[in-house]
Protein backbone atom coordinates (compact mmCIF):
# COMPACT_ATOMS: atom_id res chain seq x y z
CA UNK A 1 0.00 0.00 0.00
CA UNK A 2 2.17 2.82 -1.26
CA UNK A 3 1.40 6.12 -2.95
CA UNK A 4 4.04 7.12 -5.45
CA UNK A 5 4.28 10.24 -7.61
CA UNK A 6 6.96 10.22 -10.31
CA UNK A 7 8.13 13.47 -11.81
CA UNK A 8 4.76 15.24 -11.92
CA UNK A 9 4.49 18.34 -14.09
CA UNK A 10 1.50 20.68 -14.04
CA UNK A 11 1.04 23.90 -15.97
CA UNK A 12 -1.63 26.37 -14.90
CA UNK A 13 -2.33 29.04 -17.44
CA UNK A 14 1.12 30.39 -18.23
CA UNK A 15 2.60 29.14 -14.98
CA UNK A 16 4.59 25.91 -14.59
CA UNK A 17 3.29 25.15 -11.10
CA UNK A 18 4.65 21.67 -10.44
CA UNK A 19 8.05 21.10 -11.97
CA UNK A 20 8.83 17.43 -11.70
CA UNK A 21 7.62 16.59 -8.21
CA UNK A 22 8.20 13.04 -6.97
CA UNK A 23 7.54 11.37 -3.66
CA UNK A 24 6.79 7.98 -2.21
CA UNK A 25 4.61 7.30 0.79
CA UNK A 26 4.21 3.95 2.55
CA UNK A 27 1.80 2.70 5.13
CA UNK A 28 2.58 4.17 8.54
CA UNK A 29 4.25 7.23 7.05
CA UNK A 30 3.29 10.89 7.04
CA UNK A 31 4.43 13.30 4.36
CA UNK A 32 4.53 16.93 5.38
CA UNK A 33 4.30 19.20 2.34
CA UNK A 34 5.65 22.69 2.93
CA UNK A 35 6.32 25.68 0.74
CA UNK A 36 5.46 29.34 0.29
CA UNK A 37 2.02 30.51 -0.76
CA UNK A 38 1.31 29.63 -4.33
CA UNK A 39 4.05 27.04 -4.49
CA UNK A 40 1.61 24.39 -5.65
CA UNK A 41 0.83 22.43 -2.51
CA UNK A 42 -2.90 22.37 -3.08
CA UNK A 43 -2.29 21.59 -6.72
CA UNK A 44 -0.13 18.65 -5.71
CA UNK A 45 -2.81 17.29 -3.41
CA UNK A 46 -5.37 17.55 -6.19
CA UNK A 47 -3.05 15.66 -8.49
CA UNK A 48 -2.41 13.08 -5.80
CA UNK A 49 -6.11 12.32 -5.39
CA UNK A 50 -6.74 12.18 -9.12
CA UNK A 51 -8.85 15.31 -9.43
CA UNK A 52 -6.29 16.84 -11.72
CA UNK A 53 -4.46 15.17 -14.59
CA UNK A 54 -0.77 16.04 -14.62
CA UNK A 55 0.50 17.06 -18.05
CA UNK A 56 3.53 14.87 -17.44
CA UNK A 57 4.35 12.18 -14.93
CA UNK A 58 1.93 9.96 -13.09
CA UNK A 59 0.70 8.94 -9.65
CA UNK A 60 0.70 5.28 -8.64
CA UNK A 61 -1.25 3.57 -5.89
CA UNK A 62 -0.14 0.04 -5.06
CA UNK A 63 1.98 0.11 -8.21
CA UNK A 64 -1.08 0.92 -10.32
CA UNK A 65 -1.51 4.15 -12.22
CA UNK A 66 -4.47 5.89 -10.59
CA UNK A 67 -5.85 6.79 -14.02
CA UNK A 68 -6.50 3.09 -14.53
CA UNK A 69 -7.74 2.29 -11.04
CA UNK A 70 -9.49 5.57 -10.32
CA UNK A 71 -12.50 4.39 -8.35
CA UNK A 72 -10.67 1.76 -6.27
CA UNK A 73 -8.02 4.35 -5.46
CA UNK A 74 -10.44 7.12 -4.63
CA UNK A 75 -12.48 4.88 -2.38
CA UNK A 76 -9.28 4.37 -0.37
CA UNK A 77 -8.57 8.06 0.27
CA UNK A 78 -10.10 10.99 2.08
CA UNK A 79 -9.33 14.54 0.98
CA UNK A 80 -9.93 17.65 3.08
CA UNK A 81 -9.57 20.76 0.94
CA UNK A 82 -9.15 24.41 1.93
CA UNK A 83 -12.89 24.93 2.05
CA UNK A 84 -14.75 22.44 4.19
CA UNK A 85 -16.93 21.07 1.40
CA UNK A 86 -20.13 21.11 3.44
CA UNK A 87 -23.61 22.09 2.33
CA UNK A 88 -24.54 25.28 4.16
CA UNK A 89 -28.21 24.34 4.38
CA UNK A 90 -27.72 20.89 5.88
CA UNK A 91 -26.77 20.29 9.48
CA UNK A 92 -23.30 19.00 10.29
CA UNK A 93 -24.73 15.56 10.95
CA UNK A 94 -26.70 15.47 7.72
CA UNK A 95 -23.61 16.53 5.82
CA UNK A 96 -21.57 13.69 7.26
CA UNK A 97 -24.39 11.24 6.81
CA UNK A 98 -24.49 12.10 3.14
CA UNK A 99 -20.85 12.35 2.22
CA UNK A 100 -19.71 9.41 4.31
CA UNK A 101 -22.79 7.43 3.37
CA UNK A 102 -21.69 7.64 -0.26
CA UNK A 103 -18.74 5.45 0.70
CA UNK A 104 -20.10 3.08 3.31
CA UNK A 105 -23.37 2.65 5.14
CA UNK A 106 -23.17 4.36 8.50
CA UNK A 107 -25.67 5.39 11.16
CA UNK A 108 -26.02 8.61 13.14
CA UNK A 109 -24.84 6.80 16.26
CA UNK A 110 -21.47 6.10 14.76
CA UNK A 111 -21.21 9.53 13.16
CA UNK A 112 -21.79 11.17 16.51
CA UNK A 113 -18.80 9.25 17.83
CA UNK A 114 -16.60 10.74 15.14
CA UNK A 115 -17.94 14.23 15.84
CA UNK A 116 -17.19 13.46 19.49
CA UNK A 117 -13.56 12.80 18.57
CA UNK A 118 -13.25 16.27 17.04
CA UNK A 119 -15.15 18.01 19.86
CA UNK A 120 -18.02 18.92 17.59
CA UNK A 121 -20.95 17.12 19.17
CA UNK A 122 -22.54 20.35 20.43
CA UNK A 123 -22.99 21.67 16.91
CA UNK A 124 -23.99 18.41 15.28
CA UNK A 125 -27.51 19.57 14.61
CA UNK A 126 -26.85 23.16 13.56
CA UNK A 127 -27.03 24.08 9.88
CA UNK A 128 -23.47 24.49 8.66
CA UNK A 129 -24.31 28.02 7.50
CA UNK A 130 -24.28 29.31 11.06
CA UNK A 131 -21.13 27.49 12.15
CA UNK A 132 -17.94 29.35 12.88
CA UNK A 133 -14.89 28.85 10.70
CA UNK A 134 -13.20 26.52 13.15
CA UNK A 135 -16.35 24.54 13.75
CA UNK A 136 -16.59 23.86 10.03
CA UNK A 137 -13.01 22.58 10.03
CA UNK A 138 -13.86 20.22 12.86
CA UNK A 139 -16.79 18.80 10.95
CA UNK A 140 -14.57 18.36 7.89
CA UNK A 141 -12.02 16.51 10.02
CA UNK A 142 -14.76 14.34 11.43
CA UNK A 143 -15.67 13.35 7.90
CA UNK A 144 -12.12 12.31 7.17
CA UNK A 145 -12.18 10.11 10.28
CA UNK A 146 -15.56 8.65 9.46
CA UNK A 147 -14.44 7.57 6.01
CA UNK A 148 -12.18 4.97 7.70
CA UNK A 149 -9.74 4.92 4.80
CA UNK A 150 -5.99 4.21 4.80
CA UNK A 151 -4.92 7.38 2.96
CA UNK A 152 -5.54 10.94 4.15
CA UNK A 153 -4.82 14.04 2.10
CA UNK A 154 -5.25 17.12 4.28
CA UNK A 155 -4.87 20.71 3.09
CA UNK A 156 -4.02 22.90 6.07
CA UNK A 157 -6.14 20.95 8.58
CA UNK A 158 -5.12 23.36 11.35
CA UNK A 159 -6.29 26.65 9.87
CA UNK A 160 -8.95 28.41 11.98
CA UNK A 161 -8.57 25.85 14.78
CA UNK A 162 -7.95 26.92 18.36
CA UNK A 163 -5.07 25.45 20.34
CA UNK A 164 -7.11 22.66 21.88
CA UNK A 165 -8.48 21.55 18.54
CA UNK A 166 -5.01 21.72 16.98
CA UNK A 167 -3.60 19.41 19.62
CA UNK A 168 -6.55 17.10 19.16
CA UNK A 169 -6.09 16.99 15.39
CA UNK A 170 -2.39 16.27 15.78
CA UNK A 171 -3.24 13.33 18.05
CA UNK A 172 -5.71 12.03 15.51
CA UNK A 173 -3.03 12.18 12.82
CA UNK A 174 -0.54 10.36 15.05
CA UNK A 175 -3.04 7.60 15.78
CA UNK A 176 -3.90 7.24 12.11
CA UNK A 177 -0.26 6.87 11.14
CA UNK A 178 0.57 4.60 14.08
CA UNK A 179 -2.27 2.28 13.13
CA UNK A 180 -0.75 1.83 9.68
CA UNK A 181 -2.46 4.63 7.81
CA UNK A 182 -0.70 7.05 5.50
CA UNK A 183 -1.19 10.80 5.28
CA UNK A 184 -0.09 13.73 3.16
CA UNK A 185 -0.46 16.94 5.14
CA UNK A 186 -0.05 20.49 3.89
CA UNK A 187 0.64 22.79 6.81
CA UNK A 188 2.57 26.03 7.12
CA UNK A 189 2.98 25.77 10.87
CA UNK A 190 1.82 23.83 13.84
CA UNK A 191 2.51 20.31 12.64
CA UNK A 192 4.46 19.24 15.73
CA UNK A 193 4.79 15.58 14.95
CA UNK A 194 7.53 13.01 15.35
CA UNK A 195 7.75 10.46 12.57
CA UNK A 196 7.34 12.44 9.35
CA UNK A 197 9.15 13.27 6.12
CA UNK A 198 9.11 16.66 4.52
CA UNK A 199 8.52 17.57 0.88
CA UNK A 200 9.49 21.14 0.08
CA UNK A 201 8.00 22.96 -2.87
CA UNK A 202 9.40 26.31 -3.97
CA UNK A 203 7.44 29.05 -5.66
Amino acid sequence: MTLRADNVHVWRGARHVLRGVSFELRAGELLHVVGPNGAGKTTLLRVACGLLQPEEGAVHWCEQNIRQARTTFQSALAYAAHEAGLKADLTALENLHFSVGLRRSIDRQELMEYLERTDATDIANLPVRVLSAGQKRRVAMARVLACKVPLWLLDEPFSNLDDGAMKRTTELLEDHVRLGGAAVVVAHHGLALGSRRQLRLDA
Binding site: W11, R12, G13, E55
Partner: protein
Protein backbone atom coordinates in the same frame (compact mmCIF):
# COMPACT_ATOMS: atom_id res chain seq x y z
CA UNK B 1 1.65 -1.48 -35.27
CA UNK B 2 -0.55 -0.32 -38.11
CA UNK B 3 -1.48 2.95 -36.50
CA UNK B 4 2.11 4.07 -36.31
CA UNK B 5 1.87 6.03 -39.56
CA UNK B 6 -1.18 7.81 -38.21
CA UNK B 7 0.50 8.87 -35.02
CA UNK B 8 3.56 10.04 -36.91
CA UNK B 9 1.29 12.03 -39.18
CA UNK B 10 -0.55 13.43 -36.18
CA UNK B 11 2.60 14.64 -34.51
CA UNK B 12 2.62 18.44 -34.75
CA UNK B 13 5.83 18.78 -36.79
CA UNK B 14 4.67 16.39 -39.49
CA UNK B 15 1.20 17.86 -39.58
CA UNK B 16 2.72 21.29 -39.81
CA UNK B 17 4.94 20.31 -42.72
CA UNK B 18 2.03 18.57 -44.41
CA UNK B 19 -0.37 21.49 -44.29
CA UNK B 20 2.36 23.92 -45.21
CA UNK B 21 3.05 21.89 -48.32
CA UNK B 22 -0.57 21.15 -49.14
CA UNK B 23 -2.07 24.60 -48.68
CA UNK B 24 -0.90 26.33 -51.87
CA UNK B 25 -1.87 23.40 -54.10
CA UNK B 26 -5.38 23.39 -52.68
CA UNK B 27 -5.73 27.12 -53.27
CA UNK B 28 -4.44 26.63 -56.78
CA UNK B 29 -6.89 23.80 -57.43
CA UNK B 30 -9.91 25.58 -55.93
CA UNK B 31 -9.57 28.77 -57.93
CA UNK B 32 -10.31 27.44 -61.44
CA UNK B 33 -13.05 25.11 -60.21
CA UNK B 34 -14.91 27.90 -58.45
CA UNK B 35 -14.33 30.17 -61.39
CA UNK B 36 -15.77 27.57 -63.77
CA UNK B 37 -18.68 26.71 -61.49
CA UNK B 38 -19.73 30.28 -60.94
CA UNK B 39 -19.17 31.43 -64.49
CA UNK B 40 -20.92 28.48 -66.08
CA UNK B 41 -23.60 28.64 -63.44
CA UNK B 42 -24.27 32.32 -63.63
CA UNK B 43 -23.94 32.87 -67.36
CA UNK B 44 -23.99 29.64 -69.37
CA UNK B 45 -26.55 27.48 -67.62
CA UNK B 46 -30.10 28.00 -68.90
CA UNK B 47 -32.54 29.87 -66.64
CA UNK B 48 -34.82 27.69 -64.57
CA UNK B 49 -38.22 27.23 -66.19
CA UNK B 50 -40.08 28.35 -63.09
CA UNK B 51 -37.53 30.28 -61.04
CA UNK B 52 -35.97 32.22 -63.87
CA UNK B 53 -32.54 33.53 -63.04
CA UNK B 54 -33.11 33.58 -59.28
CA UNK B 55 -32.17 29.94 -59.06
CA UNK B 56 -28.58 30.80 -59.92
CA UNK B 57 -27.94 31.57 -56.28
CA UNK B 58 -27.82 27.84 -55.81
CA UNK B 59 -24.26 27.87 -57.12
CA UNK B 60 -23.20 29.69 -53.98
CA UNK B 61 -25.93 28.61 -51.63
CA UNK B 62 -25.79 24.85 -51.91
CA UNK B 63 -22.01 24.57 -51.59
CA UNK B 64 -21.99 26.91 -48.61
CA UNK B 65 -24.80 24.96 -47.00
CA UNK B 66 -23.23 21.58 -47.62
CA UNK B 67 -19.89 22.73 -46.31
CA UNK B 68 -21.47 24.26 -43.23
CA UNK B 69 -22.59 20.76 -42.36
CA UNK B 70 -19.47 18.87 -43.36
CA UNK B 71 -17.26 21.37 -41.55
CA UNK B 72 -19.14 20.69 -38.36
CA UNK B 73 -18.83 16.95 -38.86
CA UNK B 74 -15.10 17.25 -39.41
CA UNK B 75 -14.75 19.45 -36.35
CA UNK B 76 -16.66 17.03 -34.15
CA UNK B 77 -14.73 14.03 -35.45
CA UNK B 78 -11.35 15.67 -34.96
CA UNK B 79 -12.30 16.75 -31.47
CA UNK B 80 -13.53 13.29 -30.52
CA UNK B 81 -10.41 11.59 -31.84
CA UNK B 82 -8.28 14.04 -29.90
CA UNK B 83 -10.36 13.52 -26.80
CA UNK B 84 -10.21 9.74 -26.82
CA UNK B 85 -6.71 9.03 -28.12
CA UNK B 86 -5.18 12.20 -26.66
CA UNK B 87 -3.96 13.37 -30.05
CA UNK B 88 -3.21 17.04 -29.60
CA UNK B 89 -3.36 17.91 -33.29
CA UNK B 90 -7.02 16.90 -33.35
CA UNK B 91 -7.89 19.78 -31.05
CA UNK B 92 -5.96 22.09 -33.34
CA UNK B 93 -7.98 20.85 -36.32
CA UNK B 94 -11.24 21.32 -34.45
CA UNK B 95 -10.24 24.80 -33.37
CA UNK B 96 -9.28 25.66 -36.93
CA UNK B 97 -12.53 24.26 -38.34
CA UNK B 98 -15.01 26.11 -36.16
CA UNK B 99 -14.69 29.65 -37.54
CA UNK B 100 -14.58 28.44 -41.15
CA UNK B 101 -17.69 26.37 -40.66
CA UNK B 102 -19.40 29.27 -38.95
CA UNK B 103 -18.66 31.54 -41.89
CA UNK B 104 -20.03 28.99 -44.36
CA UNK B 105 -23.13 28.75 -42.20
CA UNK B 106 -23.54 32.49 -42.33
CA UNK B 107 -23.01 32.24 -46.07
CA UNK B 108 -25.78 29.67 -46.39
CA UNK B 109 -28.10 31.77 -44.26
CA UNK B 110 -27.49 34.96 -46.20
CA UNK B 111 -27.64 33.49 -49.68
CA UNK B 112 -30.59 31.42 -48.62
CA UNK B 113 -32.58 34.31 -47.32
CA UNK B 114 -31.67 36.33 -50.38
CA UNK B 115 -33.03 33.49 -52.42
CA UNK B 116 -36.03 33.19 -50.19
CA UNK B 117 -37.17 36.70 -51.07
CA UNK B 118 -38.08 35.91 -54.70
CA UNK B 119 -39.09 32.32 -53.98
CA UNK B 120 -41.18 32.55 -50.82
CA UNK B 121 -41.75 36.27 -50.70
CA UNK B 122 -39.93 36.61 -47.39
CA UNK B 123 -36.34 36.75 -46.22
CA UNK B 124 -36.98 34.63 -43.21
CA UNK B 125 -39.51 32.06 -42.15
CA UNK B 126 -39.59 29.88 -39.07
CA UNK B 127 -39.09 26.81 -41.17
CA UNK B 128 -37.41 23.72 -39.77
CA UNK B 129 -34.45 23.73 -42.10
CA UNK B 130 -33.85 27.42 -41.87
CA UNK B 131 -34.19 27.35 -38.11
CA UNK B 132 -31.99 24.33 -37.71
CA UNK B 133 -29.35 25.98 -39.85
CA UNK B 134 -29.56 29.00 -37.59
CA UNK B 135 -29.18 26.66 -34.65
CA UNK B 136 -26.10 25.22 -36.32
CA UNK B 137 -24.66 28.72 -36.25
CA UNK B 138 -25.43 28.97 -32.53
CA UNK B 139 -23.72 25.62 -32.04
CA UNK B 140 -20.59 26.90 -33.75
CA UNK B 141 -20.69 29.98 -31.53
CA UNK B 142 -21.22 27.82 -28.48
CA UNK B 143 -18.22 25.65 -29.26
CA UNK B 144 -16.00 28.61 -30.01
CA UNK B 145 -16.93 30.60 -26.94
CA UNK B 146 -16.69 27.56 -24.70
CA UNK B 147 -13.13 27.02 -25.90
CA UNK B 148 -12.40 30.66 -25.13
CA UNK B 149 -13.97 30.58 -21.70
CA UNK B 150 -11.34 28.42 -20.01
CA UNK B 151 -8.29 29.83 -18.32
CA UNK B 152 -5.97 27.22 -19.71
CA UNK B 153 -6.36 26.13 -23.32
CA UNK B 154 -5.97 22.39 -22.75
CA UNK B 155 -9.20 22.20 -20.78
CA UNK B 156 -10.95 24.49 -23.21
CA UNK B 157 -10.08 22.16 -26.05
CA UNK B 158 -11.42 19.11 -24.30
CA UNK B 159 -14.61 20.81 -23.20
CA UNK B 160 -15.19 22.10 -26.72
CA UNK B 161 -14.62 18.60 -28.07
CA UNK B 162 -17.29 17.18 -25.77
CA UNK B 163 -19.77 19.83 -26.82
CA UNK B 164 -18.96 19.35 -30.48
CA UNK B 165 -19.57 15.64 -30.17
CA UNK B 166 -22.86 16.16 -28.40
CA UNK B 167 -23.99 18.72 -30.94
CA UNK B 168 -23.37 16.43 -33.89
CA UNK B 169 -26.94 15.22 -33.53
CA UNK B 170 -28.08 18.47 -35.12
CA UNK B 171 -26.43 17.64 -38.45
CA UNK B 172 -28.74 14.83 -39.54
CA UNK B 173 -31.66 16.88 -38.28
CA UNK B 174 -30.73 19.69 -40.62
CA UNK B 175 -30.15 17.34 -43.49
CA UNK B 176 -33.38 15.42 -43.14
CA UNK B 177 -35.47 18.31 -41.89
CA UNK B 178 -36.86 18.62 -45.37
CA UNK B 179 -38.18 15.06 -45.30
CA UNK B 180 -39.32 15.11 -41.70
CA UNK B 181 -41.33 18.29 -41.73
CA UNK B 182 -43.29 19.65 -44.62
CA UNK B 183 -40.82 22.41 -45.26
CA UNK B 184 -40.79 25.45 -47.47
CA UNK B 185 -37.30 24.47 -48.32
CA UNK B 186 -36.89 22.15 -51.28
CA UNK B 187 -35.51 18.69 -50.87
CA UNK B 188 -32.31 17.15 -52.07
CA UNK B 189 -31.77 17.89 -55.71
CA UNK B 190 -28.44 16.16 -55.77
CA UNK B 191 -27.94 12.77 -54.21
CA UNK B 192 -25.43 10.05 -54.86
CA UNK B 193 -28.09 7.44 -55.48
CA UNK B 194 -31.15 8.87 -57.21
CA UNK B 195 -30.62 10.12 -60.73
CA UNK B 196 -30.34 13.88 -60.70
CA UNK B 197 -33.49 15.91 -61.18
CA UNK B 198 -31.45 18.62 -62.81
CA UNK B 199 -30.34 18.95 -66.42
CA UNK B 200 -26.60 18.35 -66.84
CA UNK B 201 -26.07 21.91 -67.99
CA UNK B 202 -27.20 23.09 -64.56
CA UNK B 203 -25.73 20.19 -62.64
CA UNK B 204 -22.17 20.23 -63.97
CA UNK B 205 -21.44 23.79 -62.80
CA UNK B 206 -23.04 23.03 -59.45
CA UNK B 207 -20.77 20.05 -58.96
CA UNK B 208 -17.83 22.11 -60.16
CA UNK B 209 -18.61 24.88 -57.72
CA UNK B 210 -19.12 22.36 -54.96
CA UNK B 211 -15.78 20.70 -55.58
CA UNK B 212 -14.12 24.10 -55.78
CA UNK B 213 -15.64 25.23 -52.49
CA UNK B 214 -14.49 22.00 -50.89
CA UNK B 215 -10.95 22.57 -52.10
CA UNK B 216 -11.15 26.14 -50.84
CA UNK B 217 -12.37 24.93 -47.48
CA UNK B 218 -9.48 22.49 -47.25
CA UNK B 219 -7.04 25.21 -48.21
CA UNK B 220 -8.27 27.66 -45.59
CA UNK B 221 -8.23 24.85 -43.08
CA UNK B 222 -4.57 24.25 -43.85
CA UNK B 223 -3.76 27.93 -43.34
CA UNK B 224 -5.63 28.15 -40.07
CA UNK B 225 -4.16 24.87 -38.91
CA UNK B 226 -0.67 26.21 -39.50
CA UNK B 227 -1.48 29.20 -37.34
CA UNK B 228 -3.02 27.02 -34.63
CA UNK B 229 -0.04 24.67 -34.51
CA UNK B 230 2.42 27.55 -34.36
CA UNK B 231 0.40 29.13 -31.56
CA UNK B 232 0.00 25.94 -29.54
CA UNK B 233 3.53 24.64 -29.95
CA UNK B 234 5.24 27.98 -29.50
CA UNK B 235 7.28 26.59 -26.60
CA UNK B 236 8.21 23.42 -28.45
CA UNK B 237 11.78 22.91 -29.59
CA UNK B 238 11.05 21.91 -33.16
CA UNK B 239 9.49 25.31 -33.75
CA UNK B 240 12.43 27.11 -32.24
CA UNK B 241 14.75 25.06 -34.46
CA UNK B 242 12.57 25.71 -37.48
CA UNK B 243 12.40 29.43 -36.87
CA UNK B 244 16.11 29.86 -36.08
CA UNK B 245 18.06 28.24 -38.86
Amino acid sequence: MTWAWFHRLASPPHAYRLVTGLGPWLYAASAPLIAYGLFAGLFIAPPDYQQGDAFRIIYVHAPCAWLSLSAYTIMATAGTVALIWRIKIGHAVAAACAPIGASFTIGALVTGSLWGRPMWGTYWAWDPRLTSELILLFLYFGVMSLRQAFDDPARGDRAAAVLGLVGVINVPIIHFSVQWWNSLHQGATVTAFAKPTMPASMLAPLLGALLGFMMFFAAVLCTRLRAEVLMRERQANWIKEMLSP
